[in-house]
């Protein structure tokens, strides 16, 4: 068995175990932490399959942006006060440090590495931008329309009623 296969098994195992952890763990913050681990595992699997671009998207958008949103939501809806300030050299901060170092190296390497672009032929990551903004610009326009619609609907649903402010 090649070492990359063993690595993949390991990554897949970690991903599955942390996905189970998301469902099993009772505390919501712990679930969120497991979810981050699962998403990072998926990113690692992508990068093992030579799809570096997908790995970065996975890290930046899911493990990054979406999880921050989740944690914000958890923080805002929880009643108890936030935990006391941690020491600088805590385990959490250490994991943040490791994650950001991994991310930094991925970003730094991305210009050099080949990745699979639309069309199935592996090529440099930089080839994605022109294809996104020229060949698929119609999709980009459509996304703008989608965002307007989503924004409008979501704002309407959470909008305060006109006379609600007076009573409150």
């Amino acid at each position: 068995m090649a070492y990359s296969e063993i690595l993949f098994m390991f990554v897949a195992g970690v991903t599955i175990i942390s996905a189970l952890g998301v469902v099993v763990s009772k505390e919501i913050v712990r679930s969120a932490a497991y979810l981050i681990l699962a998403l990072v595992g998926v990113a690692a699997a992508f990068s093992l399959m030579d799809s570096l671009f997908m790995a970065m998207i996975q890290l930046l958008i899911y493990a990054g942006a979406v999880m921050v949103l989740f944690l914000f939501g958890v923080m805002l809806t929880r009643k108890e006060a936030p935990a006391k300030r941690r020491r600088l050299l805590s385990r959490t901060n250490l994991s943040y440090l490791i994650l950001s170092v991994v991310l930094f190296f991925l970003v730094a390497r991305s210009g050099l590495m080949d990745t699979s672009v639309l069309g199935g032929i592996p090529g440099p990551v930089s080839a994605i931008a022109p294809s996104l903004y020229t060949e698929f610009k119609g999709v980009l326009y459509a996304l703008a329309g989608l965002l307007v619609t989503v924004g409008l609907g979501a704002i309407y649903i959470v909008k305060k009623e006109a006379n609600e402010g007076k009573n409150a």
């Binding site: 069309g119 119609g138 999709v139 989608l146 409008l152 309407y156």
Partner: protein, 488 residues
């Protein structure tokens, strides 16, 4: 191409975009409920007229690197979308008058039509998915519009969860097709490697399942009755007309162009899948509609059954059957929107919710009761009304193909006979009341003009389209042949 010609050919969507901007500005400076309703109705009417003109004169224009190509087929669907949304906006007056905010509903209706228009014109699966989601998201907001009503919230949640799942299935199908063919464009020519032909098949099946949720084909229909019943009436009308036709538009767009190649390369007999779905859907919809007591729910189940008849057009896969399917969708959207609008009127005017509440309504509101009668008879398939003509031609198309496909026609005829029972019950209640109940003393009341405009429009169109079917089917045939002949 002359820039003015290009502008003219993009004008149906241009009008909608412009109307959207005007709506935003109007809400910012004046916040006038009536005005936003009028603006959107005027824009939809203009779009409808422009689309009728462009569809009948066979124009084509491409937009954004040919990601969207507006041809006769897209304009034809545009007519259905804008006309049904216009009917919704015309009938939404009293609902929006009572609602806290009116601007968002008009806006979402416009955005939904805009998204649907682009669905009918996209030449790329990813673009199709994005605009499909745009139109679907607009309907989520509309279903949840009555924010104080628990039913509306429940309907919206059910619809949203099913919609999200089906979106996931569609995007999964698209990615499998991409892996198999190396392309996301909807084109009649593509190639697969021998190992990945099964991937193509699985991807296509996932697409059928995903869009099956939208058109509420039999095993994927569970969300529809609850959502239609819980949503406010204008949203229900919109779902039954614009949203359902959009699901068919996506399927027609994909299978009309890619269908033959899918069969040749993947070996997947998708026509048989559509045939089975069709028989199951119409039979289930009609059987379930038989036992309903609530009018709105009965109409919801009957709209499932109508999906079944329309699926015959996809199952046969001939250019004639596609043309008849296009005609069917137009007649269905008008008759269905009309019946929901009359039901809305009766609920607000006479508080009539169940079918028993419809007793003697013909004495109180004769004109709308007559319109409902005509539209229900049309849906049941009574000549010479428009849905009858559509059903007749679609059964004729299946007999023409021959072989086992005749079974579709037989199932359709039997189901039409079955459906007459529950439609006739409503008509009987309206005209001769319930057994052992005497007619009410009061005479007819003046019917509200705000409802009568859309109701009479539907009535006139239901009769006129049945008599003048030749012109519409000729346009539809032209739209289908130009699309299948062109390679994008």
């Amino acid at each position: 191409m002359n820039p003015y010609t290009e502008l003219l050919r993009l004008s149906p969507v241009g009008v909608l975009v412009l109307a959207q901007i005007i709506l935003f500005v109007q809400d910012l400076v004046r916040e006038d409920k009536r005005l936003s309703q009028y603006i959107s109705a005027a824009a939809l009417a203009l779009t409808c007229l422009l689309s009728v003109y462009l569809a009948s004169s066979g124009n084509t224009v491409s937009f954004a690197n040919s990601t969207f190509v507006f041809n006769s087929l897209a304009y034809y669907f545009g007519v259905i979308f804008s006309l049904s949304a216009l009917l919704v906006m015309l009938s939404a007056g009293s609902f929006l008058g009572r609602a806290e905010y009116a601007f968002e509903f008009s806006s979402l209706a416009i955005l939904g039509v805009l998204g649907s228009f682009f669905v009918a014109s996209s030449t790329n699966l990813v673009a199709l998915f994005v605009v499909f989601e745009m139109a679907t998201t607009a309907t989520y907001g509309m279903v949840a519009y009555a924010r104080r009503s628990k039913l509306s919230a429940e309907a919206a949640i059910k619809y949203f969860v099913v919609g999200a799942v089906s979106a996931g299935i569609i995007i999964y199908g698209i990615s499998l097709i991409y892996i198999a063919t190396g392309s996301v464009s909807i084109s009649s020519v593509f190639s697969v490697t021998s190992q990945s032909s099964q991937l193509l098949d699985v991807g296509v099946i996932l697409l059928i399942v995903g869009f099956g949720f939208k058109i509420a084909a039999f095993p994927f229909h569970m969300w529809l009755p609850d959502t239609y019943e819980g949503a406010p009436y204008p949203a229900t009308t919109y779902l039954a007309s614009v949203s359902k036709v959009m699901g068919f538009a996506a399927l027609v767009r994909i299978f009309l162009v890619m269908g033959p190649a899918i069969y040749a390369l993947g070996g997947l007999n998708w026509e048989v899948i559509f045939g089975l779905l069709s028989i199951l859907t119409m039979t289930f919809g009609n059987l379930a509609a038989l036992v309903q007591t609530s009018m709105k729910r009965m109409l919801a189940y009957s709209s499932i059954a109508m999906s079944g008849y329309m699926l015959i057009g996809l199952a046969l896969g001939t250019s004639f059957s596609y043309a008849v399917l296009l005609y069917f969708m137009l007649t269905y959207a008008i008759a269905k929107a009309g019946s929901f609008i009359v039901a809305q009127f009766f609920e607000s005017e006479h508080n009539a919710k169940s079918i028993d509440d419809y007793a003697w309504l013909a004495r109180k509101s004769p004109l709308s009761a007559f319109s409902l009668t005509i539209m229900l008879l049309s849906l049941a398939g009574i000549p010479p009304l428009s849905v009858f003509v559509a059903k007749f031609f679609i059964f004729y198309a299946s007999v023409q193909v021959g072989g086992y496909w005749i079974l579709l026609a037989i199932a359709g005829v039997l189901n039409s006979a079955l459906s007459l029972y529950y439609y006739a019950r409503v008509i009987k209640n309206m005209y001769i009341g319930l057994a052992g109940e005497s007619p009410p003393p009061q005479g007819p009341r003046l019917e509200r003009i705000g409802y009568m405009i859309p109701i009479l429009t539907c009535l006139v169109l239901t009769i006129a389209l049945g008599l003048g079917e030749g012109t519409v089917i000729a346009v539809a045939k032209h739209a289908v042949t130009t699309l299948s002949a062109t390679v994008f």
